[in-house]
């Protein structure tokens, strides 16, 4: 499908802050596209440039083949769900939803009324139609904001952390509603969030942002399974970082690595990093296996010996921190079944930790700062916070 929304080399700075730094993205028609990144990384600024509230310092924005970079907000066929909804407090729900059609004077009053009625039923607010926004719950306000934007049939709907103001249960409910609405209306959604769970569950594609730049763009699974940078690996889900060196290539896709303390490891190396080069490896906690006895393993597996330092039981799973040759490895295991006769792993047990060569992922970019995003054992996290 052709690129529908093109963001080309767009930058925006505020005094000495580079809020958005040479960002290029393309979004397809009808796509649910997420901008995911920590607070302050420039997501809102990028969105505001799409809506027309900020002018980019450099770059162009094209929508459906038309350059909209210099168009004022009211001339763009783009609508926004604001972070705090920004409902007009002096108007009722019905008037809020009708507002756009009324100011644009696109249709006679009777048609506006009909369109508003249809929208009220789509966002399930018929019974609240004559209330002022001040009397609505968080979820209802959000629905008004959605209805008010969708009634204009925008080409792109921009959503700036629309669920951030809601509590957890409601957030999950609204998440499903948004997904449903997206399927019904087929409009392109650009969804800004700092919550990886939201982005993962809704998006067709995700652009991960950090410090005003795009770190990686991909499907949720790509982002999670094949992170390119240490930031992506640590910000989305949890991970372990290992620093090492390539010893030799093994076959087409694998290589042998030297990581201090461990015997030679075998690792997937699709990037063909040649021998002698330093590498940074990311391995997700759930990719590790842990056991008291050494299992039979294929040559594509790596195994190291360690001692359990910390265990947290989380109900659905258990988190272990294992000290192995100077590395602190975080491991999570799901309990598929609880064996009464099996002796559980305890603190200070000596254990084997093993993983498949394909489960380690070599990073293209590594920054030490991203170590702070990795979860730490409970005793260590206190000291880490004070150190910041």
């Amino acid at each position: 499908m052709a690129d529908f929304l093109e963001i080309e080399d767009v930058s925006r700075h505020f005094r000495n802050i580079r809020a958005v730094d040479h960002v290029s993205l393309t979004v397809r028609k009808g796509e649910f596209y997420s901008l995911l990144g920590p607070s302050g990384c420039g997501k809102t600024t990028l969105l505001r440039m799409l809506a027309g509230f900020e002018r980019p310092d450099t770059g162009r924005i094209r929508l459906d083949g038309r350059d909209i970079t210099d168009l004022p907000p009211h001339k763009r066929t783009v609508n926004t769900i604001f972070q705090n909804y920004a409902l007009l407090p002096h108007l009722t729900v019905r008037q809020n939803i009708a507002f756009g059609l009324q100011v644009q004077k696109k249709m006679p009053r009777k048609e506006i009324d009909e369109a508003v009625d249809r929208m009220l039923s789509l966002v399930q607010l018929e019974s609240q139609a004559d209330k002022k926004p001040g009397l609505l719950s968080g979820g209802q306000k959000q629905r008004v904001a959605v209805g008010r934007a969708l009634i204009l049939q925008p080409q792109v709907l921009l959503l700036d952390e629309p669920l951030a103001a809601l509590d957890l249960k409601l957030r999950q409910k609204m998440l499903m509603e948004l997904d449903l609405i997206h399927d019904q209306v087929g409009i392109t959604f650009i969804y800004v969030t700092h919550d990886q769970g939201e982005a993962m569950s809704l998006s067709d594609r995700i652009a991960v942002m950090n410090n005003g730049r795009i770190e990686q763009v991909g499907k949720p699974a790509e982002i999670y399974e094949a992170p390119r940078s240490s930031f992506v690996a640590a910000f989305i889900g949890d991970t372990n970082f290992f620093e090492g060196q390539v010893l030799e290539l093994v076959g087409d896709e694998y290589s042998r690595l030297n990581i201090s303390g461990f015997a030679d490891l075998v690792c997937f190396n699709d990037k063909k990093i040649s021998a002698g080069n330093p590498v940074f490896l990311s391995i997700r906690p759930e990719k590790f296996h842990i056991g008291r006895n050494r299992p039979e393993l294929s040559p594509k597996h790596n195994i190291v010996r360690g001692r359990v330092e910390d265990i947290i039981y989380l109900g659905g799973m258990t988190k272990y921190w294992v000290q192995a040759e100077g590395h602190k490895i975080s491991i999570t295991r799901q309990h598929s079944r609880f064996f009464l006769d099996e002796e559980p792993i305890r603190w200070n047990d000596d254990v084997w930790v093993w993983w498949h060569a394909d489960d380690g992922f070599m990073l293209e970019r590594y920054s030490e700062a991203d170590e702070n995003l990795v979860s730490l054992p409970p005793d260590a996290s206190g000291t880490a916070e004070t150190a910041q």
């Binding site: 509230f53 009211h74 604001f82 920004a86």
Partner: protein, 292 residues
């Protein structure tokens, strides 16, 4: 239901009630009573009751003065709002550091006596004054026309003295106004002007009402300004009341004029508040709560 709760409410509203009674209800009541008293030759109030004053209020000169008082005050209010709204909007949108300076500039005139400022205008508007000579120099006025002692001069000085009172409520509301709402309106297709009139103005409507009251009411009763910069053709009701009190020493007559003024303010206000209360069954209190 319980007596305790009733007593509690009483305790909370009692100070307001006492204040209103002492400073508003009793004086107003006195003014209205004096209308029905005869005047005595020494400028006091005689004994007994009479309706003579009431009939004498039918003086053929009064309608013109009343009308002038009304339109001068209304025009002053309108001009003040027209100036205060953009001023308050701009002040609220300027950088926080600069905002306090602007606020200070608005308040500075209060540091000089009201009378001094009015006399300063007299100097400025005087035939030999700066403004007059400037206008003549620019060919905008003939050297024979008088700026002083006209309704225009009264209007100008009334706007000047009332403007800060109109700006302050607007500024206070604009500072609290959520400007994201303007962006939301723009996002939904409103132009700059559309967003301003459909979102900003309704958003500060209470402050506008406050501004109207604090400008209009003093204007209706003003007498120093028309006295100093106005002439015989710009006399207002306040001047007449002063004249009846100090020159004619006819207190009942002055009271009659004051009563007219009070009713002229009170009746529309009660009407506005009542209709407001009817409309706002859902949220918020009455507008007057913000003011009182």
């Amino acid at each position: 239901m319980t007596g305790g709760r009733k007593n509690g409410e009483w305790a909370v509203t009692a100070p307001t009630f006492v204040w209103l009674t002492l400073l508003f209800v009793i004086p107003t009541f006195l003014v209205f009573t004096i209308v029905f008293k005869p005047s005595d030759p020494y400028g006091g109030i005689g004994s007994g009751w009479t309706l003579r004053t009431l009939f004498s209020l039918g003086n053929p000169n009064y309608p013109a003065i009343l009308w002038r008082t009304a339109w001068l005050s209304a025009l002053t209010t309108a001009l003040c709002l027209a100036l205060a709204v953009p001023t308050g909007y701009c002040m609220a949108r300027t950088d926080r550091r600069f905002r306090n300076t602007l606020l200070l500039l608005v308040i500075i005139p209060f540091m000089t006596s009201f009378l001094v400022r009015i006399f300063a205008w007299k100097v400025l508007l005087h035939p030999e004054g700066l403004i007059k000579r400037g206008l003549v120099l620019l060919g905008l006025a003939h050297s024979d026309t008088s700026l002083l002692y006209t309704p225009g001069a009264v209007l100008l000085v009334m706007v000047y003295t009332s403007l800060p009172f109109a700006i302050l409520p607007v500024f206070a509301a604009a500072e609290k106004f959520d400007f994201h709402l303007i962006e939301a309106a723009r996002d939904l297709g409103a132009t700059h002007a559309g967003a301003f009139f459909r979102v900003f103005i309704p958003g500060i409507s209470r402050a506008l009402f406050t501004s109207v009251l604090v400008v209009l009411i003093p204007c209706l009763g003003s007498y120093v300004i028309p006295d100093v910069v106005g002439g015989p053709n710009s006399e207002m009701l306040g001047n007449k009341i002063a004249q009846r009190t100090f020159s004619d020493r006819n207190l009942p007559h002055a009271s009659g004029l004051s009563a007219i003024l009070t009713l002229a303010v009170l009746i529309p206000m009660v009407w506005v508040v009542l209709s407001q209360r009817k409309r706002e069954t859902g949220g918020g209190g009455s507008i007057l709560k913000d003011i009182v």
